[in-house]
């Protein structure tokens, strides 16, 4: 029998606020342990939580971006449990009235080849709720260490419906979700820094049936490819079990990325019973229509919408837009250059080829971030302008670009300083062309005998002699005139 997998993802995303969810202690990644706490974070008696307006606004924006319904009222609940990652023995979360209901994420599947756009589909969301993150435990042989820096940090949980049907779709979903949230400035979504974390619910069922099978939750999927690999392994494991008539147990399994398999996590003595109840210390939140409209004004264009626009309005090829659009900063860079000189194809080419190559070569640990790049968008525009004016050839431009990248100088300055300006002095060029004609009787004879491509050999010689500074179009004209 053939089986099909059904996957739902629970994605936790840390919001890019300055301070925590219910107190104004700051949060940033990589601080020394236990330096970002205050009495509220530590759950001291008598402390009271105060909501972070920015966190609520960012969550509403995430919901608007993903087409969620924003209910008029949402409220806070306590999720009670004993574990040292939360000093007050409960986590403030949202149980039955989350900020966002429903919604969907547009995903793109891999196309038949890299130059062809893949199929698009909308994956349904169940909800998005806001909660506080917990502290970080580091486990040793006989004891665990607790750092409360992360405790209380605003965290959204984006819950998908069981609406993903392959590891590749899960991968595409996470990628698309991350691109949207990063573009909106809601989170950096860096999985290595724990800013985006993912649990997957995986089940399989006989192909063609609609009832869901027993689901297994997979944890510890720490990278986007880890999510894909962990789910792929789990589908295989469950399929084998089904084929061998072994039962699939509802359980939580941990993905071991190094070894490439999942293992059952120690099952709890009893099922989770968090005894949720409304937090009496926190007032509900009412979201007015005015507030919604105001927040909607700050939303960016979704990456896939931007891609469709670039392909339609700028006639850019899919390959180029699929590099520019998922990266909000790169796309903004492109548009800034375009505002100076409206030649989208040429500018996009310099950005996706030359700029990205230099950035990747310059970075010590991965690519150099775009905001540390010395080449300004207007410099790229200027470079294209120099080519169009005939001041330099595109060949010379390729040499100018690395110089712009290393020095931060504008292209005109580099062209002037290095004397790279194309020679348009036709008198001088004519002399050079005549000299080349005199010295190369063979291609001259061939050309005169009607062998058209022979002229290229002569052109090459002229370009070599002028060290590339001659305008190839003018050289072509002069040669043809002299040989006529």
């Amino acid at each position: 029998m053939e089986y099909e997998p059904v996957i739902g993802l629970e994605v936790h995303v840390q919001l890019k606020t300055n301070t925590k969810m219910f107190t104004r202690a700051p949060y940033h990644y990589g601080a020394e342990p236990n330096t970002l706490t205050d009495p509220v974070v530590l759950g001291m008696p008598g402390t009271l939580p105060v909501m972070n307006r920015k966190a609520i606004e960012m969550t509403i924006q995430a919901g608007l971006l993903l087409g969620c319904k924003i209910p008029e009222t949402c409220k806070w609940d306590r999720k009670n449990y004993f574990y040292p990652d939360m000093p007050k023995n409960y986590q403030i979360s949202q149980f039955d009235q989350p900020i966002c209901d429903g919604g969907e994420v547009e995903i793109e599947m891999l196309g038949p080849s890299r130059n062809v756009m893949g199929e698009h589909r909308n994956v349904k969301l169940t909800r998005i709720h806001l909660e506080e993150d917990v502290g970080k435990l580091t486990h040793f042989d006989s004891e665990s260490l607790v750092d409360y820096n992360r405790a209380g940090t605003p965290l959204i949980e984006i819950v998908s419906e069981p609406d993903l049907y392959s590891p590749e779709e899960a991968f595409a979903y996470l990628t698309a979700l991350r691109n949207c949230l990063v573009a909106a400035g809601i989170s950096e979504c860096d999985m290595e820094k724990g800013q985006m974390r993912c649990d997957a619910n995986v089940s399989i069922r006989p192909k063609g049936t609609t009832e869901l099978g027993t689901k297994v939750e997979i944890k510890n999927l720490n990278t986007i490819s880890g999510v894909r690999n962990g789910i792929a392994y789990e589908i295989q494991r469950q399929t084998l079990a089904m084929e061998n008539n072994q039962p699939i147990v509802q359980e939580t399994r941990r993905w071991n990325a190094d070894e490439g398999y999942t293992t059952s996590m120690r099952s709890k003595e009893m099922a989770h019973d968090y005894r949720y109840f409304p937090d009496p210390d926190l007032m509900p939140v009412k979201v007015s229509q005015d507030w919604l409209e105001q927040l909607a004004e700050d939303l960016p264009e979704l990456p896939f919408d931007m891609q469709r626009r670039y392909m339609r309005d700028y006639d850019l090829p899919y390959t180029i837009t699929s590099v520019l659009c998922p990266d909000a900063k790169l796309a903004a860079y492109f548009e800034n250059a375009l505002a100076v000189y409206e030649k989208p194809k040429q500018i996009a080419n310099f950005i996706t080829n030359d700029l990205l190559r230099e950035l990747s070569a310059a970075g010590e640990n991965g690519s150099l971030p775009l905001d540390q790049c010395k080449v300004r968008p207007e410099h790229v525009a200027e470079l294209v302008q120099l080519i169009d004016k005939g001041d330099i050839s595109s060949h010379i431009a390729k040499e100018v670009f690395p110089e712009m990248f290393s020095t931060g100088k504008g292209p005109s300055q580099i062209v002037d300083e290095k004397g790279l300006k194309q020679s348009t002095d036709t008198g001088e060029l004519e002399a050079t062309c005549q000299e080349i004609i005199n010295n190369n009787p063979k291609p001259v004879a061939e050309y005169k005998a009607g062998k058209e491509p022979a002229i290229n050999a002569l052109k090459g010689q002229v370009m070599k002699m002028t060290r590339g500074k001659a305008n190839p179009k003018i050289v072509d004209e002069i040669l043809r005139k002299l040989l006529a």
């Binding site: 300055n18 700051p26 342990p33 236990n34 205050d38 409220k75 939360m86 996590m265 939140v285």
Partner: protein
């Protein structure tokens, strides 16, 4: 009178991490039963025409600006920790995802 049969006192005690003597179990089961009974009485009232509320006071949107306030020093933060090392609290090893 109390309806202790509805309460699994061992389960509730375990969730609350409480160790109870047999006498305490009996006493608390009775008291908790009384509370449940009280809620049963509340449940009998028809509230279908009332607007649900999450809080006794009709106050909404008590929000703070996202501006950082001072933090505790790590020494202050850990002053009550029974055991500490590397500027962190030391707890018995508990590998479990809550």
């Amino acid at each position: 009178m109390s309806d202790a049969s509805n309460i699994d006192i061992d389960y509730v005690a375990n969730l609350a991490r409480l160790q109870l003597t047999p006498e305490e179990k009996q006493r608390f089961a009775g008291q908790l039963g009384d509370i449940l009974e009280h809620f049963e009485k509340l449940k009998s009232i028809d509230v279908s025409n009332e607007e649900p509320m999450a809080h006794p006071f009709p106050v909404f949107n008590v929000l703070g600006a996202d501006e950082a306030s001072p933090t505790l020093s790590p020494e202050q933060a850990l002053v009550n920790a029974p055991k500490q090392r590397d500027q962190q609290l030391v707890v018995p090893k508990v590998v479990d995802d809550a």
